[in-house]
């Protein structure tokens, strides 16, 4: 019964590059495709935000303090009369770059450690993985706060804190893909030819982990943005006056009762962005999975 199905599959995949194949199945995931489009727009907005925003991020309008959404101020104003919509546009760049750069650093270190751990095994593996276990034993937020306590507050240190707490996640997942690939016959085949460790890792192991890496990378950006916003909310991240989404939430906290829009709109921005990254990650996983099994 599966015979016919696999035959069909083989037929379809003929003369198709792996990317085209991925694209074909990704397009079918309507929800995550939409999430991807949303994120693409968000990146564009983040890049050109400062130019299209109607007001500056620190432009005070003392006539309109804590005023609700109106045509003049689309998302209302905060306690200094600053336009919240404009601040969200300005802050998009901060949130996205904090999310991307911290996960990038975490993924880079985690992947290197994971591959070394999984490929060489034995004591190297035990040593690396015990350190990772220690890092993982702390709840994410607590670890980040601890790191900030050592490094001091500030956006750059938030990036480092979130990066460090992403390392063990990547190290673990990449280690397990490495173990799976290491035991395949094609890796044994290349070893029997006489390939060096470096060649086996670069040509066979790493390319095999890429699809897993992409999926986790995407998913982690969402949580990195969330943690970074959380740290800023606690006053451990961005300077309170910067239009960082978490810091904006923190600002509006005192006016929750009479001016809920001050927290609602930054909160909505965080929520939509994190959700979009997670949905995109889900879709990528489904689209890339057949390749992983392959």
């Amino acid at each position: 019964m599966a015979e016919a199905a696999t035959r069909k599959e083989e037929e379809q995949e003929k003369k198709v590059t792996p990317f085209q194949q991925f694209w074909k199945s990704f397009k079918k995931q309507k929800v995550s495709f939409a999430a991807g489009v949303f994120l693409l727009l968000l990146f564009i907005v983040a890049a050109i935000g400062p130019f299209i925003a109607p007001y500056g991020p620190q432009e005070y309008d003392y006539d309109n303090l804590l005023s609700g959404p109106s045509w003049q101020h689309l998302a209302g104003t905060d306690d200094f009369g600053r336009d919240i919509f404009s601040r969200i546009l300005h802050g998009a760049w901060i949130s996205l770059s904090v999310g991307l750069s911290s996960v990038f650093i975490g993924a880079l270190l985690g992947t290197i450690l994971g591959i070394i751990s999984g490929y060489f095994g034995k004591w190297v593996d035990s040593a690396i993985m015990r350190v990772m276990d220690v890092l993982l034993a702390f709840p994410g937020m607590l670890l980040a706060i601890g790191i900030i306590a050592i490094l001091g507050p500030g956006l750059f240190n938030v990036v480092m804190a979130v990066a460090i707490f992403s390392v063990p996640v990547f190290a673990r997942i990449i280690r397990s893909s490495t173990l799976a690939i290491k035991s395949t016959l094609y890796v044994e085949a290349t070893q029997s030819i006489g390939s060096s460790h470096f060649r086996v890792i670069m040509k066979h192991i790493f390319p095999g982990t890429v699809s897993t890496l992409i999926v986790y990378f995407t998913m982690r950006i969402g949580s990195a943005i969330l943690i970074a916003a959380g740290l800023s909310f606690l006053g451990l991240g961005a300077d309170p006056s910067t239009p960082e989404w978490g810091a904006m939430l923190s600002n509006g906290r005192d006016y929750l009762n009479n001016a809920p829009h001050v927290t609602f709109f930054p909160g909505l921005a965080i929520f939509l962005t994190v959700l979009a990254f997670n949905l995109l990650g889900d879709g990528l996983r489904d689209a890339l999975d057949p390749k992983i099994r392959d």
Partner: protein, 324 residues
């Protein structure tokens, strides 16, 4: 000979993948008489396994669907049965054994419990009687220390033992038809010989009809009374085991027989069939074997030959008849 116990008439089965319909079996006619072993032989993708699943109505968990034809069991069309009627027939009148017995046995239940449940599903007998019957069946398939095996789990048994248990389970309700889908393919030759012996004994003792599906022509020659050779979803040649092996007519059958190395033959080369089995899309319009056939004629590409005399699906057959 009497009436066939099972007859497959113009069976069509296809698979639905991504909204497209892919034919897997296209118009199969096959009869099974009481006490007969019929071999269904073909390579991967020939549709032989799909045929057996269609007969057993086991396509539900696959994207496959029977799209035409009938499967008559004692004159009644199995394809028109309700779920309840199907369940009654399955395991009781028609049983099936598969290539990998481990997948058909529940890993967390003891062998004995599974056997007893299978028996009590179809027969109104007490727990103790069912247990006695189960042990009797295990003895019949040549399992030593059958009482002890009743209390063991599937993973404690070897592959050969598990296949014996499967046969015992399949035979426990004394079915009239046994469908065996590559039952010995996963086993070593010495164990395969044991299992084939067991199956032959079962046929001799219970007069069970067996539909034996395999890719191994050696096993077919040893086990079967009649043979149907499948290629690209069709039967291309059908006949008694002697006709097929001693005087094959269809070029595919000839090629297949030439492809197997024969023990002690001291051959220097094997007569192989050129090319690959075509994918469904690449199947030639006329005869499906045209692209690999050494005797291909212009006509073969144009029109698909019928199964002449119910025996040979080849245009050459017509020509041979004419010259004789």
């Amino acid at each position: 000979m009497s009436e066939p116990i099972l007859s497959i008439n113009q069976l069509y089965t296809s698979f639905r993948v991504d909204g497209e319909t892919i034919p897997a079996v296209e118009g199969i006619d096959l009869s099974l008489y009481p006490g007969e072993i019929v071999g269904l032989v073909g390579e991967s993708g020939s549709g032989k396994s799909v045929t057996s699943l269609s007969v057993m109505q086991l396509l539900d968990e696959t994207p496959g669907e029977v799209t035409g034809g009938e499967v008559l069991f004692q004159g009644q069309d199995l394809l028109k049965f309700t779920d309840r009627q199907k369940r009654k027939v399955r395991g009781n009148d028609i049983s099936m054994i598969f290539q990998e017995p481990m997948t058909s046995l529940n890993p967390v239940l003891k062998i004995g419990k599974q056997l007893v449940e299978a028996i009590r599903e179809h027969q109104r007998i007490s727990q103790t009687d069912a247990r006695k019957h189960a042990i009797h069946m295990l003895n019949q398939v040549g399992i030593p220390r059958s009482e002890a095996i009743m209390n063991e789990y599937p993973h404690q048994l070897s592959g050969g033992m598990r296949q014996r248990v499967m046969i015992a389970m399949a035979m426990s309700c004394d079915p009239k038809v046994l469908i065996a889908d590559e039952p010995t393919t996963a086993l070593d030759v010495t164990i395969q010989a044991q299992i084939l012996d067991v199956m032959r004994n079962m046929r001799d003792q219970h007069n069970t009809s067996i539909l034996f599906i395999t890719h191994d022509l050696g096993v077919i020659a040893e086990m079967c009374d009649r043979v149907a050779v499948m290629y690209s979803g069709r039967i291309v040649e059908q006949g008694s085991v002697y006709e097929i092996f001693e005087n094959p007519k269809h070029p595919y059958t000839k090629g297949l027989l030439g492809s197997i190395p024969k023990l002690g033959a001291k051959e220097d080369r094997l007569d192989s069939i050129q090319g690959q089995v075509p994918t469904v899309e690449d199947r030639p319009k006329g005869c499906k074997f045209a692209n690999r056939c050494p005797f291909v004629m212009d006509h073969c590409w144009e029109e698909e030959p019928p199964l002449f005399d119910g025996k040979n699906r080849c245009w050459l057959h017509e020509r041979e008849e004419a010259t004789e």
